[in-house]
């Protein structure tokens, strides 16, 4: 396989893996708070987190570009290691993907925590479990189907993201050219065969993701009954 094909594939998998792992760490406590807090303003936070679901990727990409650029906070962070900007870098892509995939991870995890209800945690408390132990031994395992769904959706959405990536990544080969932008590039340059290889791979990938989600859900539903 020529590097033009496998380098974008490798970058895409790296990007999606790093994004998904980071999101699980960030989104789980956020989803827990959204599911359990009684704060009146929590839905405002939920709405902000969900914005990327409805915003056009170009709008999201535009603001991310400003934030990551030399004059934004991204530029300040980049200056720590002597760079000028986070835009058009792999790090920038990770940050952008985290923002744009966040709602797809937070929502199923929040729903899973909410579905557990108060009772199992109350039971755990009456059995001497501290809130921390109750979270790890009761809430976390009971919500694990939701966590898995969130991880799969976050991974898949990151792989499929195009607009935001193009806006903040610049489609630089070997650095920010991922599968979705590579397909665009092949099409622009009339290289149908290469475009077909990547696009066909994506179709197979999407099919596998959806099928495995359905099968997992069925299995969890059976185990819970």
């Amino acid at each position: 396989m020529p590097p033009e094909i496998w380098v974008p594939i490798r970058l895409t998998i790296e990007l999606a893996a790093i994004t998904t792992l980071t999101l699980l760490i960030v989104a789980t406590p956020l989803a827990w708070w959204l599911a359990r807090s009684r704060a009146a303003w929590k839905e405002a936070v939920a709405a902000i987190v969900s914005l990327p679901m409805v915003l056009p990727p170009t709008v999201l990409g535009f603001y991310l570009l400003i934030l990551l650029g030399p004059d934004g906070p991204g530029g300040a962070i980049a200056s720590l290691w002597g760079a000028r900007t986070l835009a058009f870098t792999f790090t920038g892509l990770v940050i952008g993907s985290i923002v744009s995939s966040m709602p797809f991870v937070v929502q199923p995890i929040r729903n899973a925590f909410a579905a557990i209800g108060d009772r199992p945690l109350e039971v755990a408390a009456t059995l001497r479990a501290s809130p921390r132990r109750a979270f790890w031994t009761v809430a976390f395992p009971l919500a694990s189907p939701g966590l898995l769904t969130g991880a799969v959706l976050g991974f898949a959405h990151t792989v499929g993201e195009f607009g935001v990536i193009l806006m903040i990544g610049g489609n630089i080969p070997g650095r920010t050219r991922v599968m979705s932008t590579a397909i665009f590039d092949f099409v622009e340059t009339m290289r149908w065969r290469e475009a077909n290889m990547l696009a066909g791979g994506m179709v197979v990938f999407a099919f596998a993701v959806i099928l495995s989600m359905i099968l997992l859900e069925k299995r969890f539903a059976r185990a819970g009954a």
Binding site: A124, A125, T126, G224
Partner: protein, 372 residues
Amino acid sequence: MSDGETIRVDFKSVLGKFSLQANFAAPARGVTALFGPSGCGKTTVLRCIAGLTRVEDGLCIVAGDVWQDPGGAFLPTHKRPLGYVFQEASLFAHLSVRRNLMFGAPRGKARTRKGKIAFDEVVELLGVTALLDRAPGKLSGGERQRVAIGRALLSQPKLLLMDEPLSALDRATKDEILPFLERLRDRLSLPIIYITHSIAEVERLADQIVLIEKGRVIGAGPLEELQSDPSLPLAVARDAAVTLDGVIAAHDSGYGLLTLTIRGGSLIVPAPPAAVGGRRRIRVIAGDVSLAREKPGLSSILNVLPARIVSAKPVGDQELVAVLTLGADETGARLLSRLTRKSWEALGFTEGMSVYAQVKAVALAPGRGELE
């Protein structure tokens, strides 16, 4: 009662429709029933004791340990040595029965402490040995509730709180679990606070009772005392009864009759053979007790007990309920008798009068005293 062996509770709060004013003290032993109609605030009281619901103005002292006081002290639930059995078993769906049972069991150093409730004992007591490796989803309602009780016990509580543990179960399952609760009460010296709206469960299990109505405590004390207090709703209810704890004095195997010694007298009760010296709780329904001024001659009624009328209270226009004390002095057990005003007046009964209380033995047979 010293503080070391008392449960003292005082919660004040506004709860939707009514205000909660739950103030009572109960001995930290035996079964204390919180009894009242649905929606009267019983569950809230229990949740306050557990610390699951927090009211600001609350006091809760259990056997000398302060769990909450109005000064702001509040021990979080997971630091209170209690067991809680919810109305629905609420087993952890992701854990096997065994791991559910062991969830709250002390770990590490505390595990070897003496005087604890042993795993094998609980499993045997509750009859769940065969279920240990199953998933909670594969259990029946009664099995689940038994596991929930075992799980609470194995956390080595100093106080067991039970919120209508039978109410979500059908009749057959209730009958399956009640004997376990009775064994629990008799074998483990663990104080239990037991919520119910079923007087039958109270009569079968409780030693003390706290009557709750619209968030307020309207009476608290030993079961016998409150059952025979005509100022409380129990004694004037249509199905009023007293429960008496008796000791088996003899068994007549020819006729299948037990003689039970109670305070101030004895009762003859049809029952399967049982060891002399054992304890037996029976329920005497007010409507099954009749009164005579003189000792009846030839009669089929086996139980004729000398008694004295302590007080009488009219119930409606036609009937009244008399409180009796058995034997000659004031220390005898209390009985209730419900009779028509016509009989009361025709025979010239008055308070303080010595009479004979009569109870047909068949009215005390097993089945009449059990759960409806």
